[in-house]
């Protein structure tokens, strides 16, 4: 089978780091990622099925991996070589069209009883992602045993699969997994009725957070900081009440919240901030514009950052992460799977329009460079299109 494979080659990883820091996405050209003919992954157990990806998105965490900028934190919870790709809409051998929920939790790892997190349905917090009968891998797409969406075949545990309604396009379906991240982040942000909420960054995740906040929370005013014109247009369209460029954010939040200011540090601020960038500067800005005792939710994957946390200490700011998904609390006290909410969001917000470009696997370097500069090029989600790959029909 044909697949993009990411191997543990330190020299190439270092080269990717250098190239990626000069031109985002250039790590694909010099790093460990290669297009290969490999054996299809074997089914790890009886509840596993073979699936053939149709579309597979390129995520920010994929780009960090390819460009060699992801944190070493992940080393124990990934296994090499792996085929990336965890935003997947695929066909099963029986002809079902499915979306993959990629977290490799206790169920997929045949761990019984499940860990406390999996027991609650908080799949993203699974405590066993490096254990069980599978090699380590926090998600499909980072595990040597499962293959990934950037290949013509992969394997998935039945618990990972969500049926795609017939009327939902592949473009819509491939947005379900990132939409689930947005939904989980929006619900993790602790938004209460009438809150002023800031979303910093308007790449795929930022836009999905805006849409999810509007759909699933009672936020009063949503402010989106977006760098590029198309991102600004989409943010407004998906539910942001005010949109500005990132460097204009402190002034806009100040005015919207009736705050005072010293330089860029507000005395008050927004009730909640979702950081969908994950850099030193973005997190610092979040801390500067959130109100005392407000919550900053890190949605974009940060790596090593240098921060002055005096403001966090002084203003008793909550700093929380939002990773993946699992289940969310319902107002009646019950739980609902994040993916169910994500399907709803994709449909109601028309998120298929966020798929800006698709590429065949053979053009992976161009695809990754496009994804890495999506905002500047007026794009949002870039995906691999495997529907025409001959291999998947063998």
């Amino acid at each position: 089978m044909k697949a993009l494979v990411f191997d543990r080659k330190l020299m190439r990883y270092a080269a990717a780091h250098v190239a990626g820091s000069i031109v985002p996405g250039r790590g694909a050209a010099v790093g460990p990622l290669r297009l290969s003919d490999i054996d299809p992954p074997e089914l790890p157990g009886p509840e596993w099925v073979r699936i053939r990806p149709r579309l597979s998105g390129i995520c920010g965490s994929d780009l960090a991996t390819v460009d060699g900028t992801s944190s070493r934190y992940f080393e124990p919870i990934v296994s090499f070589p792996f085929t990336p790709g965890h935003e997947v809409v695929a066909d099963t051998d029986e002809g079902r069209r499915v979306v993959l929920e990629p977290v490799l939790g206790c169920a997929a790892r045949r761990i019984s009883p499940p860990c406390a997190a999996c027991g609650r349905g908080d799949l993203g917090n699974c405590e066993r992602v490096a254990f069980g009968h599978l090699q380590p891998g926090l998600q499909t797409g980072f595990c040597a045993d499962t293959g990934g969406g950037w290949g013509t075949f992969m394997v998935a545990h039945e618990s990972q699969l969500h049926a795609v309604p017939p009327d939902l396009s592949d473009e819509a379906a491939v947005m379900v997994e990132p939409a689930a991240c947005g939904v989980h982040a929006a619900l993790r942000a602790g938004v209460t009725e009438g809150d002023v909420v800031v979303v910093l960054g308007a790449g795929t995740l930022g836009l999905l957070c805006v849409a999810a906040l509007r759909r699933f929370t009672a936020a009063g005013r949503i402010i989106a900081a977006a760098k590029y014109a198309e991102q600004q247009r989409l943010a407004r369209d998906l539910g942001a009440d005010s949109v500005c460029e990132p460097d204009e954010l402190p002034r806009l939040v100040r005015r919207m919240t009736g705050s005072f200011a010293y330089d860029d540090q507000l005395t008050g601020g927004s009730d909640a901030v979702l950081d969908c960038v994950g850099s030193d500067a973005s997190i610092a800005q979040c801390l500067a514009v959130v109100k005392p005792r407000g919550r900053v939710t890190l949605v974009g994957m940060p790596a090593v950052v240098k921060l002055n946390l005096t403001t966090l200490w002084h203003r008793e700011t909550e700093l929380v992460g939002a990773y993946a998904y699992g289940s969310e609390a319902r107002p009646d006290g019950g739980r609902v799977r994040t993916f169910d909410l994500a399907f709803d969001l994709v449909r109601t917000a028309g998120l298929d329009r966020l798929v800006s470009a698709v590429y065949p696997l053979a053009e992976f370097r161009a695809a990754i460079e496009h994804a890495a500069s999506a905002g500047r090029r007026g794009a949002v989600k870039v995906a691999f299109d495997l529907r025409q790959e001959k291999e998947r029909y063998r």
């Binding site: 500005c244 002034r251 005015r255 009736g258 200011a261």
Partner: protein, 528 residues
């Protein structure tokens, strides 16, 4: 005998015309046979004995008892004076205000008046700094009054220091400085640089609050002031005069002192800027070349410092005192005597070079909103009769229009530019949706009261100032402006005057008639 202003028809032999471009200038060749340049009058001769003229005005006022007769021991006397927005550029010391205030204080001392307050009547402008106050009133007055808290900036946001006097028949609320309102006599010391200045506008605007100002500083008023420099056709003037009646009816006694200056605007090395180009001497041309060459290499911050430090050799051409309205009639005639220039008919295009300064960026940055206000507000409205450009015509300004703001002076301008103009440039829409939020923003209030910031609502007024121009012009182009910034203003950027004329072609055709307003020095067109 100074020559009056005149209209020069550009022919093939005409030299290129000077265009201001912020902290710089350049020469442009206007199309021959269909362009004209309106030149200001040469500076009128100053009064021979300025201090003597001031004393004479105070002793022989118009429709009023002499000032000494209105002063008595134990009275409350308040002297208000125009703020840092006048004159432009700032004048060489001694400032006219200093001379007048010292004369008034001499009379007050002689009359045994010891309860005197001196107020910088800045309305919603920024507070004046110590240096600016010293420059305006002189060190002697400053040192005598400031330490005792008797010389200060007007604070329109201090509820305790404002007094509500009533409403006009049109429902306009009149609220002015309590100290001024409760004084036995308010002496207002004006510098009347343009025809809009002075009269009841001094007290009804300079000492007023937002509650009062919003009744005439609004889009409707500005769109119905054609122009706001022409008292007969100015809704702004009418509103201030109605408020004046309320002030008078409330028992406030005003002794108005108005002064006019000549158009001697630039110190000696730069006097060529006020000359007609064909009269430039070899020395003038050399100065022009040397100045433009060095300015090209000078960082904008440094250039700004150089220009802002320039002090004009303005001289007083008249001083009159007494009853507000009677005084103002004489003052207006004196302003017209200096500035009014007869012009026949309108043209398709009006061009103007926007200089480095306007009333709201003294010692500060000429930000994009002020560029708009100077062009479409002040310069466009320098007419009586009808605008210099026909309705639907094109206004072309030249200015670098950088995306730059003074963070201390203009904080609400930054937000206005980033948050309001990004949404809409329609003055009516802006007023309806945003004005109240900005006007009542506590942070802007705080900065206005304690720092040196213009009031939160001030950028709105600047935009409204250009509302008539915006409504009248079919297109506005800024030559040399930073494209992103110019587009944010809703205008079109052009890299050269030729490009701008090309861009204007689809509005006014390929052979448009053109008027260039050669300003500063100030000139007001009397268009028939």
């Amino acid at each position: 005998m100074p020559r009056p202003g005149f209209v020069f028809e550009v022919d093939r032999s005409a030299p290129p015309t000077l265009f201001w471009r912020g902290e710089g200038f350049g020469l442009e060749k206007l199309p021959a046979g269909r362009s004209r340049v309106i030149y200001p009058a040469e500076p009128l001769a100053p009064l021979d004995d300025i201090d003597g003229a001031i004393r004479a005005a105070l002793l022989h006022p118009i429709d009023s008892d002499p000032l000494p007769a209105r002063l008595f021991p134990g009275m409350k006397l308040t002297i208000a004076f125009d703020d840092v927005s006048l004159p432009l550029p700032k004048m060489r010391r001694p400032d006219v205000r200093q001379r007048v205030i010292e004369a008034v204080l001499d009379f007050a001392a002689a009359a045994g008046v010891d309860d005197v307050h001196i107020i910088a009547a800045l309305a919603l402008h920024r507070r004046m700094t110590e240096a600016e106050l010293r420059h305006a009133v002189g060190d002697r007055v400053y040192d005598a009054f400031t330490p005792r808290g008797l010389l200060y900036n007007h604070d329109a946001e201090d509820p305790d220091s404002m007094a509500f006097l009533g409403t006009t028949p049109q429902g306009e609320e009149v609220e002015i400085s309590r100290r001024a309102a409760e004084s036995d006599l308010l002496v207002y010391v004006n510098i009347n640089l343009v025809a809009m200045d002075g009269g009841w506008k001094s007290t009804a605007t300079g000492l007023a609050s937002y509650r009062s100002l919003r009744h005439h500083h609004n889009v409707h008023t500005m769109q119905h002031s054609r122009s706001f420099m022409d008292q007969e056709q100015s809704a702004l003037h009418s509103s201030n005069w109605r408020m004046g009646k309320v002030i008078r009816a409330a028992g406030v006694k005003v002794f108005q002192i108005e002064t006019t200056l000549n158009t001697d605007t630039f110190p000696s090395p730069f006097q060529f800027l006020a000359k007609r180009e064909w009269e430039w001497t070899a020395r003038d041309r050399g100065t022009y070349i040397a100045t433009t060459a060095s300015l090209r290499r000078t960082p904008s911050r440094v250039a700004r410092g150089i220009f802002q430090s320039m002090e004009a050799p303005h001289q007083m051409t008249s001083v009159q005192a007494g009853d507000v309205e009677a005084v103002h009639r004489v003052t207006t005639a004196n302003i017209y005597r200096q500035q009014l220039t007869p012009v026949e008919g309108q043209t398709d295009i009006l061009t103007m070079g926007i200089p480095y300064i306007c009333p709201y960026n003294v010692h500060s940055v000429m930000n994009p909103i002020l560029v708009m206000c100077t062009g479409l507000g002040y310069f466009f409205n320098m007419y009586r009769g009808k605008p210099l450009v026909r309705e639907g015509g094109v206004v072309i300004m030249s200015h670098p229009t950088p995306w730059e703001f003074h963070p201390v002076h203009h904080p609400s301008y930054i937000d206005f530019f980033e948050q309001v103009l990004a949404d809409t440039t329609d003055p009516v829409e802006i007023e309806r949706r945003y004005e109240k939020e900005f006007a009542e923003d506590e942070w802007y209030r705080h900065l206005y009261r304690t720092s040196y910031a213009y009031h939160g609502v001030h950028p709105f007024y600047m935009w409204y100032w250009g509302a008539h121009g915006l409504q009248h012009a079919g297109r506005v182009i800024i030559v040399g402006g930073e494209p992103r910034c110019v587009r944010r203003l809703g205008f079109m950027p052009a890299s050269s005057l030729d490009d701008a004329l090309e861009m204007a072609a689809d509005v006014v055709g390929r052979q448009p008639t053109i008027t260039h307003l050669h300003c500063p020095p100030l000139v007001m067109a009397d268009v028939t």
